[in-house]
Symmetry: C2
Subunit: 349 residues, 2 copies
């Protein structure tokens, strides 16, 4: 992908480590009142003025978490930030700062890293977040991105994974399975491209699901919506590994069971169409696909009238006593135990 660009390349060596980080981060503005000192000292300095501080971190490795043959670097930068902000929103908090560390091999010219940082910059702008630190170094192979997100919230607003009670309703934002089916489309086009490099894929019919994979949005809007609706979830998590595995996290940490209703799982029509085309079961895709970055949360039944009919939120089940376990109630009313089929990067393929 990079090799075909007929433009001037700047070798990283010419800049060195300090020059590189300065070059990539010098145009990032400070937007948050809590940022006292951003990039450029031994550590960033933040002042949350009595609010609590949230910290989350993720490590993304080329060849494990992303494939640059169909993931443009600008999208990668944007998505890497989303993955981290999503963890902060999943605490019912607002993200305020990020740090970005980067390891790259010499095959990346400076212009490629500028693309990556353009995506990071866009994400910071759209989500009102400051880049306040990081590290750049070389890698022996490929690209490695480590992002930490920092956020703030009043102590009593924070929602943990462990507060769900039996009879609470289980609610999900948006729709599920799109990101995984977008990946299937991109993987297929990559194989087609290998056989016939002149083939121009028509991704138009798949634009929604491809965008879910390449440019997901963290659900900051849902945090605002819950505040406006005066809904305080009893537990919350973001859906990075698939609905099934996230439900099991809530159940385990809250010491409850769960009934999830198959016919309630929100699916976009393009996800259903893609599942038919790829001969995949759409329920399984929603349960195990992952990377949707929607929010999954539980609310007391009394709060139901506040969310009823909201197009952004779907009640997909309810929590039960712990000894009842976690189950999918299928369309034909059979009870199937939920298992963690989320992504395991250590599995041999």
């Amino acid at each position: 992908m990079l090799a075909n660009k007929d433009q001037e390349k700047t070798e990283l060596e010419a800049l060195g480590e300090f020059g590189l980080i300065e070059h990539l981060t010098q145009h990032f503005p400070i937007r948050q009142p809590s940022t006292v000192k951003g990039v450029g000292d031994d550590a960033a300095v933040l002042d949350f003025k009595g609010k609590q501080t949230l910290v989350s971190t993720d490590l993304l490795i080329e060849g494990v978490h992303f494939d640059l043959s169909y993931m443009p670097l600008k999208h990668l930068g944007y998505k890497a930030v989303m993955v981290n902000l999503s963890d902060i929103y999943a605490m019912n908090a607002l993200a305020t700062q990020i740090t970005v560390s980067l390891a790259v091999s010499n095959r990346f010219p400076l212009e490629a890293l500028e693309e990556l940082y353009a995506g990071i910059d866009l994400a910071c702008k759209m989500y009102n977040v400051d880049l306040v630190g990081g590290d750049t170094t070389s890698s022996t192979t490929g690209l490695i991105l480590s992002i930490s997100a920092i956020g703030e919230a009043e102590a009593d607003a924070i929602v943990y994974r462990n507060g769900a009670k039996a009879n609470d309703l289980l609610v999900v934002s948006g729709d599920l399975g799109g990101s995984y089916m977008g990946l299937q489309v991109l993987e297929r086009e990559k194989e087609v491209f290998k056989v016939n490099p002149n083939n121009q894929p028509d991704l138009e019919p798949y634009s929604y699901i491809v965008e879910r994979q390449l440019k997901p949005e963290a659900r900051k809007d849902i945090i605002g919506l819950l505040k406006d609706l005066e809904v305080h979830p009893t537990s919350m998590i973001d859906i990075s590994d698939g609905l099934s595995s996230e439900i099991l996290h809530l159940c385990k940490q809250s010491k409850v069971g769960c009934n999830l209703f198959e016919d309630k799982i929100p699916l976009d029509p393009t996800v259903i169409a893609a599942c038919e085309e790829f001969k995949m079961d759409s329920t399984l895709v929603a349960l195990s696909g992952g990377e949707d970055y929607e929010l999954l949360f539980t609310i007391d039944q009394k709060e139901f009238p506040k969310i009823k009919g909201n197009p952004n939120l779907t009640v997909v089940g309810h929590m039960t006593a712990e000894n009842e376990g976690a189950h999918l109630i299928s369309r034909n009313n059979s009870k199937i135990p939920l298992t963690a089929q989320g992504w395991n990067s250590f599995a041999k393929t």
Copy 2:
């Protein structure tokens, strides 16, 4: 190193991603009152109760930053934490939490990662720091460690890089060049081992410098000492890339020049002896060696009586007007411009 151990190995696949992080972090206690929620949710929750928050991050890559053929994993874990805590102390703040993200290839059995975390655990215990989050994943090659350190300080206690004034004294803690000379000894022994694997190296004469390389200590004690002495530095940085490059950072950000006196640079006798043995110039080693993790700071001349004669602190020079530039005043009184010869991981070797 790992291949020769005649003990039972647990494959990472058997644990999966969630099992692995839980297994590695479950015994870490919470020591800091500011830690509200550590490992186990979408994000850690911290409460600094009005103090300011410090954040620093580093990415360490096998084959670039460390060589497992002579760096035991427990030492690597310890050192990786030190590198990050040092950045927090360099702000005159106290480190309170860390997050640790890890990418490993399948060649590492669980027991190897337990060794790594034993080093991290020891560092947390010695420096009174909580492990509050992280991420584990697979890598296509080698071991990758990303650590973020979080700290706290009263707003008026924090020392930045940009506060040095002309005529301020330049002070360094401890002694310099040991870590780099320790690395030379280890590299030499590795070459000897390649030729004759039965040769048992006698590292005893080099124990101080080898320990400086394999098990450096971040200078938390200096932060306590400065507080006890009621010395408030005007600027501060930690020495990770060599004295010369750190002085240039202070000069650039404070808009001052500097005269550094060669005969004042603190060197341990074993560093001088090793430099003679390896036919290296000890001043150059101190200026460019790096990884000493000592603190370099400036103080107003009025504060000199408070630090005079303290065995932990050495005045090595003084700041000048910006237009005078940064120079080394050599033993024969010639004036040599300081250049950033710190470590550039993008340089081709």
